[in-house]
């Protein structure tokens, strides 16, 4: 009986997290498209339409975000860096958190992600970014052909 209750609770929690993730989809995409995409590009490779006019190279998230903590990423978004605007005065905390999440998810594309990293896209971006895109080739190969 105890096991049944725990299982139900965990199932309910999982469903709630997934629904919450779906509800964030619109805002995350919109915030990224409006504030970041021009320079960082649609997949965070630093290939946005404005990059050729910028005085500095825009980094690829895969090179720079991976080794940064959430606090460091949030700091750059809040305070700016070089010609990147400081979004702190304009955005609410939850919008900055959306940007941090989206940037981290984009930074996972094309590399093997650690098991703990898989929770973030699972919860926040399963509606936004295709699973294969986030988890890359490595996971599909391990999982076998379908």
């Amino acid at each position: 009986m105890q096991d049944m209750t725990s299982a139900r609770f965990l199932t309910l929690l999982a469903v709630l997290l997934l629904v919450a993730g779906c509800l964030r989809k619109e805002e995350m995409q919109l915030t990224y498209a409006q504030r970041c995409l021009g320079c960082h590009g649609p997949t965070g490779r630093g290939d946005g339409p404005l990059t050729h006019a910028l005085p500095a190279r825009v980094p690829d998230f895969r090179d720079t975000v991976r080794d940064k903590t959430v606090f460091e990423i949030r700091g750059v978004i809040r305070q700016g860096s070089g010609v990147m605007p400081a979004f702190g005065p304009a955005l609410e905390n939850w919008q900055i958190q959306d940007m941090v999440r989206f940037v981290r998810i984009l930074s996972m594309e094309g590399r093997t992600v650690e098991w703990w990293e898989k929770f973030e896209p699972f919860v926040w971006a399963h509606c936004t970014v295709p699973w294969q895109y986030v988890y890359g080739v490595e996971r599909e190969t391990k999982g076998g052909e379908s």
């Binding site: 995409q29 919109l30 990224y32 498209a33 409006q34 504030r35 970041c36 995409l37 021009g38 320079c39 649609p42 997949t43 339409p49 404005l50 050729h52 006019a53 910028l54 005085p55 700016g80 070089g82 010609v83 990147m84 605007p85 400081a86 979004f87 005065p89 304009a90 955005l91 594309e109 094309g110 970014v129 295709p130 699973w131 294969q132 895109y133 890359g136 080739v137 599909e140 190969t141 052909e145 379908s146």
Partner: protein, 208 residues
């Protein structure tokens, strides 16, 4: 069945396409009003006297336009959280400022006027100026009440449309004003080339 690399590429392309659709449907911050792109700015010669106005600078001090009479002015319109062309404009102005010699610096002043006074309070402007290394001896970043800014925007032909907090559509205009307070040259639609601005500015400095 799609092979894993093909599947990944397809998924990647779909994601990119989805974001690009967003990008185009929501628009970059300058698109609807100016139709600007990061191409070359259009240069026009004009002859528009600019009336006096009062705003607030990055230190919270009152600023009067008339106090700069006798100097050549380079005026830009921007906002600090602008995610596209404003950083290029400020970079260009900074390059012009750095290129001036001592005599030219004495006769020149730079004004960057915000199009988003809700966000761009003096402390935010000061921080922005610091990030660009602006020499505030002859460069002021100005803000004010919307009712004080609106006539200034209008005088320079700048249309401003607020989309969200920290996201504003505005016409991208950079203007050169002569020593008599007359707007003489306007660069429109993109960040002006620093070399060309420097040439025009030196031309106005030379003419009495």
């Amino acid at each position: 069945m799609i092979s894993p690399p093909g599947s990944r590429a397809l998924a990647g392309a779909l994601s990119a396409a989805a974001l690009l659709v967003y990008f185009h449907s929501k628009g970059l911050a300058h698109d609807p009003v100016s139709g600007s792109s990061p191409g070359a700015a259009v240069r026009r010669t004009v002859n528009v006297p600019i009336g006096d106005f009062s705003l607030t600078d990055q230190d919270g001090q009152a600023f009067r336009f008339i106090s700069l009479k006798g100097k050549v002015l380079l005026v830009t319109f921007f906002y600090t959280t602008c995610p596209d062309l404003c950083p290029l404009v400020t970079t260009s102005v900074r390059a012009v400022q750095k290129a001036l010699n001592a005599w030219e610096r004495d006769g020149t002043f730079f004004l960057s006027i915000t199009t988003d006074p809700d966000v761009d309070v003096p402390a935010v402007l000061k921080s922005y100026a610091g990030r660009y290394g602006a020499d505030l001896a002859n460069w002021s970043f100005l803000t004010g009440e919307p009712r004080a800014l609106a006539p200034v925007w209008k005088a320079f032909g700048v249309k401003v449309e607020r989309k969200a907090r920290g996201l504003v559509d505005h016409t991208l205009v950079t203007g050169l004003i002569d020593r008599k307070g007359v707007l003489r040259i306007v660069y429109h639609g993109a960040a002006p080339d620093a070399e060309k601005v420097l040439r025009d500015l030196r031309g106005l400095l030379a003419s009495r």
